[in-house]
Symmetry: C2
Subunit: 250 residues, 2 copies
């Protein structure tokens, strides 16, 4: 009943429809969705009208559709991401107010850092991070923290995989990266000068739960040659405060 | 193919499954979901496994499921809510830093204020607002702003509907509420002493787009008898700054 003749579930098709929307393509026609999702036009039109009917997509006067507020609400109000983010937000604000640079919170999801929150300062420089965006584990400070304090199979998967060079400073040699992860574990933080773009340095620290497991990475982005000591001290202080705040919520 | 014998679309059932999760019930078994969604157990189990397979729900070792990070990511990364929220956040932070009380941003969705963001101060008092939560239009400062600057049919629907009393101060008489909306339009902001709970006062101002249409309400929650002039001035200043920031993004 819920399966098409191709054996793919209706849910899988629905996910493909939602995946057609991206941060740079937020409004699409049903035909564009069909092409992006690889679905026959009639199927795409039917799923889109069902999603509009249910409020998960919204349609404007030109029959172009976008992600609906109802989907955001359903996905957000009960999510564990929201609990961590809400616990972290007051302390992220303090970091951002003192360091006056972009401040981010990321968790590990499907072998990538997924950014739950980003606070930007009007005066701060460029930042490649987006809320609900992802960056590679080996090239971002958040990624290196999540990798260094993550489990061994994850580390082996990443070290054995493709390590893309974003700049001349991105670590792409597994042996170099392995030593770097040792360094992150010893120092308790990651510093990534120019790894993602030539002009900036990422700094990240682990956020731990009561059992000492790393559940997130807290990070700031500084200009490439800025001093790091003050920002690192602020990050460590905030990470401890977030850990305590989460403990109190249990 | 996508419809059950009851004529209800697969998408509608899927929405009912997602609606079973609430801020206080974030983890459920498939059987609990079936009961909450009014679906036969076999149907609930099948939809849940499809959603887990697609990553929209996540399952723990006890086979209990929760909203998946993938759903949050898909719903968030392309949403218009995120664009408005990201434009507003730096200015909300300034309000929160200066006023040192809860600061919120709400839009109108399906005749209710839907809260896109809430910044809390560790020292601030109780706050009934949740991110991705809703409050009634007639009893919250955000609601009164969205109502006063909303369209006439919306106002008539709300004035003709049930006006629930949360405290002795909640306006429940349509004539009183109508005068109150006039007052909000004249003053350019709403002040709601004790409307939602006896101990606090909400203050809200409209956030407008370039065409002068109200697209959101920016609000703070103060202790009931706190002075309001400074907070209102900060809210008006921030609302103008958000309007300018959104203009620059077009």
């Amino acid at each position: 009943m819920a399966n098409s003749t191709s054996g793919e579930s209706m849910t899988a098709r629905l996910v493909r429809v939602l995946e057609a929307f991206t941060p740079t393509r937020t409004t699409l026609t049903a035909a564009e969705i069909g092409r992006a999702a690889g679905l026959p036009s009639s199927t795409a039109h039917r799923i889109v009208s069902e999603l509009v009917e249910a409020g998960l997509l919204e349609q404007d006067e030109d029959r172009r559709v976008r992600i609906g507020m109802r989907l955001w609400e359903l996905a957000t109000r009960s999510s564990h991401a929201l609990l961590l983010r809400q616990a972290a937000l007051p302390f992220m604000e303090q970091v951002q107010a003192r360091v006056r640079e972009h401040t981010q919170l990321a968790i590990l999801d499907q072998d990538e850092p997924l950014f739950l929150e980003r606070l930007s300062h009007p005066d701060a420089g460029a930042n490649i991070t987006r809320v609900a965006g992802r960056l590679p584990l080996h090239a971002s400070s958040s990624g290196l923290v999540l990798l260094a304090f993550g489990d061994r199979p994850l580390q082996e998967r990443v070290l054995a995989g493709r390590l893309r060079a974003f700049t001349r400073s991105t670590p792409t040699d597994p042996a170099v990266l392995r030593r770097m992860l040792d360094g992150v574990r010893k120092a308790g933080h990651a510093v990534t000068p120019g790894f993602l773009d030539e002009d900036s340095t990422g700094l990240a620290v682990p956020v731990r739960d009561e059992a000492g497991r790393t559940v997130a990475a807290l990070s700031v982005v500084l200009p490439r040659d800025a001093p790091t000591a003050f920002a690192l001290a602020e990050l460590h202080r905030a990470a401890r405060a977030i850990q305590e705040a989460m403990g109190h919520r249990r």
